[in-house]
């Protein structure tokens, strides 16, 4: 049982990193008022670009960098369309996901057979070797890839940046009330560009982590909807970095449980009252595919609950989300 839980936690951490990286990018972008539905496409582009670079150069760090860069390139298109041309953010985002999927399937089919030396599992310097020995959680949290640690570190950076730095607060202002921010001398366009580009970089990093650390191979469509879960995660976290950590691990745990659900038995003994009713229901709810619906259903429920039960100012959805900005005076 202990080894099962340790294994489950290990899988949870791995699954959570991808969501955390992509989710943080989406959070920043949405906080500045730009919804980015192209995460999935940007992740795919980052995954393939990072993978090819690593195969060619042998350096997984260079691959990771290229992944980030390619995510930003796709994000630049989104920024230009949505901020400069004031196009519809939903349309642009969905089309960029389609474009990213198409491009990576088109150019990536020849790279499926390749193998790489991706990010190795490592322990933290100095204290790592002792932390790993902590029962149950040691291996899961303290023997991970460099990108797992990086994601957690970045979460602290993102939280500090958004809530305690001038630039971050200006970004939030731009997402809440662009007219007011503009009046106060904040450049709405420049900050929105910055936020969308950072968001694309995070999405690219999430993709590169997926192909270079998580699975260490490339398969077309390998993100398998994780980009959309990241979008859902931002809503689930109600646009707050700290809640995002909780959400990412919760969704990661659901993902890990799904893969391992076969080896868990939660059925009650045949003598228990109502066993005939409970057991089939439990078995149904534990089917891998049914478990796959939980992150989506949870997000819908949280979204609906938050909208229905709380006042909209408590929901924290950026007020100017989806609104393009143009100056009244020209």
């Amino acid at each position: 049982m202990v080894s099962f839980i340790a294994g489950l936690l290990d899988a949870t951490v791995q699954a959570a990193t991808v969501l955390l990286l992509a989710g943080m990018g989406e959070l920043i972008s949405e906080r500045a008022g730009v919804l980015n539905l192209g995460v999935e496409g940007m992740m795919l582009v980052g995954a393939l670009g990072g993978f090819i670079t690593t195969v060619v150069t042998g350096s997984h760090w260079l691959g990771f960098g290229v992944g980030i860069l390619l995510g930003m390139v796709l994000a630049l298109v989104h920024a230009f369309l949505c901020i400069t041309l004031k196009s519809n953010q939903v349309i642009s985002g969905v089309m960029l996901t389609l474009l990213g999927a198409g491009l990576t399937t088109f150019f990536g089919s020849g790279w499926v057979e390749e193998s790489i030396d991706g990010f190795p599992q490592m322990t933290l310097p100095l204290v790592g070797q002792y932390l790993v020995d902590i029962p149950v959680i040691g291996e899961a949290f303290f023997r991970s890839t460099a990108t797992d640690y990086l994601a957690l570190g970045l979460l602290v950076v993102v939280w500090y940046f958004l809530h305690h730095s001038n630039l971050g607060l200006e970004m939030i202002a731009v997402g809440e009330d662009p007219e007011m921010a503009d009046t106060m001398g904040v450049s709405v366009f420049r900050l929105r560009y910055l936020a969308v580009l950072i968001g694309g970089g995070f999405a690219g990093a999430a993709g590169a982590h997926l192909s270079l650390a998580f699975s260490q191979l490339w398969v077309p469509g390998m993100t398998a909807g994780r980009g959309w879960i990241a979008v859902a995660l931002v809503i689930f976290a109600q646009w707050r970095p700290r809640r995002m950590l909780l959400g990412a691990y919760l969704f990661g745990l659901l993902d890990a449980l799904r893969i391992r659900s076969q080896s868990i038995s939660l059925t009650v003994g045949p003598d228990t009252p109502l066993a005939g009713v409970i057991n089939p229901v439990v078995e149904f709810l534990m089917t891998p595919q049914i478990m796959g619906t939980y992150p989506y259903l949870a997000t819908i429920i949280v979204l609906a609950y938050a909208v229905i039960r709380t006042k909209s100012d408590q929901l924290a959805v950026p007020s100017a989300l989806l609104q393009s900005y143009s100056r009244e005076t020209d």
């Binding site: 298109v77 369309l81 901020i83 400069t84 041309l85 004031k86 196009s87 519809n88 939903v90 349309i91 642009s92 969905v94 089309m95 960029l96 389609l98 474009l99 999927a101 198409g102 491009l103 399937t105 088109f106 150019f107 089919s109 450049s187 709405v188 366009f189 420049r190 560009y193 077309p220 909807g225 959309w228 979008v231 859902a232 809503i235 089917t287 595919q289 049914i290 796959g292 619906t293 989506y296 259903l297 997000t299 819908i300 979204l303 609906a304 909208v307 229905i308 143009s326 100056r327 020209d330």
Partner: protein, 366 residues
């Protein structure tokens, strides 16, 4: 030297621009996608020739195109109708799957003569698709929960349920594949002409129904009114709640009919992954044809040509058919770029030397 970019709203759109935009965007998308072909060492002219000539000038190509057009047109309508009311249905894929599953279940478990069974399958599909679309619609209409996210998330729920059913309760046929039992003769949609099944008739009828609804009825007027100004529409006594629910549920039913026609008409059984994401392609289709249901039909036909042409190109040149996805995305990305130039006149002023009047502040990336 001063360079200033002026952006002024156009008062009226020139005729050449209004009609040329779709043509221009498609050509631009094809031109840019040609670069991808060149990178893979394929002659783009030869590849495009195969793509379009083999599709449009062979009997096989035309049959395939008309067959593929059925789900594409119907899902296109599923996005188009809510769009008219100002709502985004990006979950047509989930509605298609939900409907196809319900229709398939009826087709496999009810025994009736074909004349009754096939319509019953369509009704079951439409009901399931309508319910699936009804969830985001109700949440939006009643509590203002964003329908874009919920309709999309429900797509992934539907896909997981599809996978569960085809590996579990609905699994059938030889081997352990994720697919259903084969349909009986009675549950198969009859042929209309030359290998094209009667689902095409359904699609065309729905186009006509939608066209008449939007252009000739009071309800259509209300949908357009709510779509352009929901506050004013409510002032005028129209029910936003009713309109929102209606367009989404009817849209979901359209998508579902597209799903069941593809399975009972073209496939013969429900296979996991039987369709390459028609519900997502529906978004570009609806955007390209957003001015009328007839244009949605034309856009659906055009994308069907792309799908069929993409497969023949894959066979002939060994290039991945994913090029079609690239083209689709580029068409719409160019279209929204063109929308900007349609609504704004962009001029560049170049003044040499010191200027007397200060240059106008730049608009855009300021």
């Amino acid at each position: 030297m001063n360079v200033a970019v002026n952006v002024d709203a156009r008062e009226d759109i020139p005729v050449w621009l209004a009609y040329g935009t779709p043509v221009f965007t498609v050509l631009a998308a094809l031109a840019v996608s040609a670069v991808a072909l060149v990178v893979l060492d394929v002659n783009p002219v030869a590849a495009y020739a195969t793509m379009f000539v083999d599709t449009l000038f062979t009997e096989f190509g035309l049959t395939e195109t008309l067959t593929k057009a059925v789900p594409l047109i119907l899902t296109g309508l599923a996005v188009y109708l809510p769009l008219k009311a100002g709502l985004f249905n990006i979950g047509a894929e989930g509605q298609l799957v939900a409907g196809a599953l319900a229709g398939t279940w009826i087709g496999l478990n009810v025994s009736l003569p074909g004349l009754a069974l096939v319509p019953l399958m369509f009704v079951a599909a439409a009901v399931a698709g309508g319910i699936w679309a009804g969830i985001p619609a109700y949440l939006r209409a009643r509590w203002d929960v964003n329908e874009i996210i919920t309709s999309l998330l429900l797509t992934f729920v539907a896909l997981e349920i599809q996978s569960y059913l085809l590996r579990g309760p609905m699994q059938g046929g030889t081997g352990n594949f994720p697919q259903s039992e084969r349909f009986s003769e009675a549950a198969t949609i009859p042929e209309l002409f030359g290998g094209v099944h009667a689902g095409l008739l359904v699609a065309v009828c729905m186009v006509v129904v939608t066209y008449v609804l939007m252009t000739r009825t009071r309800l259509g007027f209300e949908i357009t009114f709510v779509g352009s100004n929901d506050a004013a529409a409510q002032q005028a006594g129209m029910s936003k709640f009713y309109v929102y629910l209606l367009v989404f549920v009817v849209g979901g039913a359209f998508a579902a009919m597209g799903g069941i026609s593809e399975i009972a008409g073209a496939q013969g059984r429900y296979r996991a992954g039987f369709e390459p994401g028609y519900g997502f392609t529906a978004i570009p289709i609806a955007l390209l044809g957003r001015n009328s249901a007839i244009k949605v039909m034309l856009a659906g036909l055009f994308f069907a040509v792309l799908f069929v042409g993409g497969s023949s190109m894959e066979v002939a040149f060994g290039v991945p058919a994913a090029l079609v996805e690239i083209i689709q995305a580029l068409v719409i990305l160019f279209l929204i770029t063109a929308e900007f130039f349609k609504s704004y006149r962009v001029g560049i002023d170049v003044r040499r030397g010191p200027t007397e009047t200060p240059a106008r502040p730049q608009r855009g990336d300021d």
